[in-house]
């Protein structure tokens, strides 16, 4: 049983190459069909995300699986690229190393942003797609099921997935979601139009936000942004009214002075009936007077607050990493031991059965030649033969088990097959 991985990741290959080798879902379906055609005896799973393209194959006979060159040629042919443009940037690993890599990938320990939560879902989708295309088999099934289990274990036993490290994800995931239960009935007010506002808006949209209002000194720009996010644009003069109606404000203008002072806020506060207001002031210098943060039920966060939260999260994530790696290591060793045990079990069974057969035949022959032997003596002789077989088998079987535990039993298995004439 062999597992092999050939692919490229953000650690080895440039983003340009990754983009050229990436597979859409339809392309992945087609690629799996082609892989099956080229290597009918190999199981295959294709994992393609923006950070990696990896081809996992598993096979019983070494010659049944594709080599690194085969996979490079396949990828180059599929995407219409030159073989040498692809080959040099591909890495290959097999056996325990490949398993460990997949477990790390699924647990998001090999991601560009360690701990990002999408990767385990992407691994699951890759496996399901391969299963739907009939290109998985017993070994890839075990490996990917184990990988998803490891990802769950890492997520539940460490906080690595919980620690967001980008400003927008921290703002929405760590703070906005602790204020609001849902976002589809909340009024989101965007003041100004910066990259970070849009990034935050993207996270809010993912959480279900529907009512977006954009205010900008430049109305056409506000309209452009509002159109992009299926919102509405209002004139700058209506900022007060929009603020009174808002539940969550994302502001990032280039103003030199605060655009909302405490006095401005106090004017509209009575219209809000002390409803919770979450303000993300992403502007430098600040758009909201810091004193507004002291008002009842107002939660005002500046970009500096969010940066500090990101930094704390990053430190906590780093602290969690060794524990997560230890889990992956432990699970890899356990998986390999089980896999090797499974590989040796049929051999042990065949060997036992073969020797048992010889013993039974010899006992039968002996008792036929000694018909006067009574039952007590028969039992004694039978027990003697059993003990002899067991004692003779014990050392070689123990060696085989030891090697299985260490995970390097291939040569020994072959030797056993030849020595004892064992057939598959």
């Amino acid at each position: 049983m062999n597992v092999q991985l050939v692919g490229c990741t953000h650690q080895h290959a440039s983003v340009e190459l990754r983009e050229r080798l990436a597979f859409s879902v339809n392309q992945a379906t087609e690629a799996l069909a082609q892989l099956r055609e080229r290597f009918p005896k190999a199981e295959a799973v294709l994992l393609s995300t923006c950070n990696r393209v990896e081809v996992y194959t598993a096979y019983d006979e070494p010659q049944a699986g594709p080599t690194r060159t085969d996979v490079a040629r396949f990828l180059a042919d599929f995407h219409g690229l030159a073989f040498h443009d692809v080959f040099d940037d591909l890495f290959q690993c097999s056996g325990e190393e490949a398993i460990r890599h997949l477990f790390s990938v699924a647990a998001s320990l090999d991601s560009m942003v360690v701990g990002e939560s999408q990767i385990s879902a992407q691994v699951k989708q890759a496996y399901e797609l391969a299963a739907a295309q009939d290109s998985v088999g017993p070994l890839t099934h075990q490996v990917f099921q184990a990988a998803l289990r490891v990802a769950k274990r890492v997520a539940s036993e460490t906080a690595i997935n919980e620690r967001r490290v980008s400003i927008s994800s921290v703002a929405v995931g760590d703070f906005a979601k602790n204020i609001f239960e849902r976002f589809d009935d909340k009024n989101i007010l965007v003041i100004g139009a910066g990259e970070m506002s849009e990034e935050t808006l993207r996270y809010l949209k993912e959480e279900g936000a529907r009512h977006v209002t954009v205010v900008n000194r430049n109305l056409p720009r506000a309209q452009e942004l509002a159109e992009r996010w299926q919102g509405r644009a209002v004139a700058w003069e209506e900022l007060g009214a929009a603020l009174a109606a808002a539940d969550l404000v994302v502001t990032a203008t280039g103003a030199e002075e605060p655009i909302v002072t405490l006095a401005d806020y106090e004017q509209i506060a009575s219209k809000r009936f002390q409803r919770d207001l979450f303000v993300l002031d992403l502007a430098v210098p600040r758009d909201f007077d810091p004193a507004i943060g002291n008002c009842l039920n107002v939660y005002l966060y500046t970009i500096e607050d969010l940066r500090q939260a990101c930094e704390r999260n990053r430190q906590e994530r780093d602290r969690e990493l060794p524990r997560a790696l230890a889990i992956v290591d432990q699970e890899t060793r356990q998986f390999m031991a089980e896999l090797n045990h499974r590989a040796t079990a049929p051999m042990i069974k065949r060997l036992r059965e073969g020797w048992q057969q010889v013993k039974d035949d010899e006992l039968r022959r002996l008792f036929n030649r000694l018909p006067t032997v009574d039952d007590t003596l028969r039992q004694e002789v039978t027990q003697f033969a059993d003990r002899l077989v067991n004692k003779l088998l014990h050392p070689p079987l123990e060696s085989l088990r030891d090697e299985a535990r260490k995970g390097v039993q291939h040569q020994l298995l072959e030797a056993f097959k030849q020595l004892f004439k064992l057939k598959d």
Partner: protein
Amino acid sequence: MLSRISITCFAASYAVALLLELTRLWFRSGVRGAAMLAFAGAGLIAHTMFLAYRGLTTSGGIPLSSEFDWYLIAAWALTVVYLYLTVYHPRTAFGPFVLPVVLGLVGIAARFADRTPFPRSQALEVWGMIHGLSLLAGTVAVATGFVGGVMCLVQARRLKHKVAPHSGLQLPSLEWLERLNARAITISMMALAIGFLSGIVLNLVNDRLHVDHLPWSDPIVWSSALLLGWLVAAAGFTWFYRPARQGRKVAYLTVASFLFLVLAVVVRVGLPSVHGGGRSSEASLEPQAEARP
């Protein structure tokens, strides 16, 4: 076997579940959630069996037959609320807030509550059942609101100070907690109003039959009236003053409601009353001994 179950059995289970909940603050574990549910679930089963056995052996299958039972059933209901919330929101730490209230109610039952069954005639009365059940529902609602209120204040404070959520002590969103608090105030007010009014009817009926009449000046009556008065005011405040329906104000209202409830309990256990047939100073402290046939 049932007679061997004591308060210690389920109180210890709840205490272990609480300790496990508190360990969320220090480390993560893949099995803690299951262990917490197992201990709380085992405690609830023992608690249920204890109440069932008491019901069968001391009050002919009628629940709420003594003040002791009443506190234990309130604790039982809160444990059900805790288990429900923990199963549906496994990452949220409800235990550190709910379980101390559960243990407090069990502690009051064990140490202070009168175990003498209410007079049989009263316990069998429909009005008596309505009275007891409504007050029980009101108490559970006030306690739930209190838990929600404290969680809301902790969460609001955390967000004001811009502290990222602790991975072990995850709390529900402010919006969820505020909704819980507002509902708790309304439900507790309605339940306690029904309980109080049915108590008045019950007392009037008893007065006419010349049995177990409770003086209107009894501490139980005025402390309950005080609690109800506060809840009516709090509910009115949330209905007619919009800012009180959201934010920290509603949390303060639920916490204050609980303080009134605590006052009512203190009055009940601290002052002489003839409610429920009067207090028995010789009430047994060992329930199974009392429960044994």
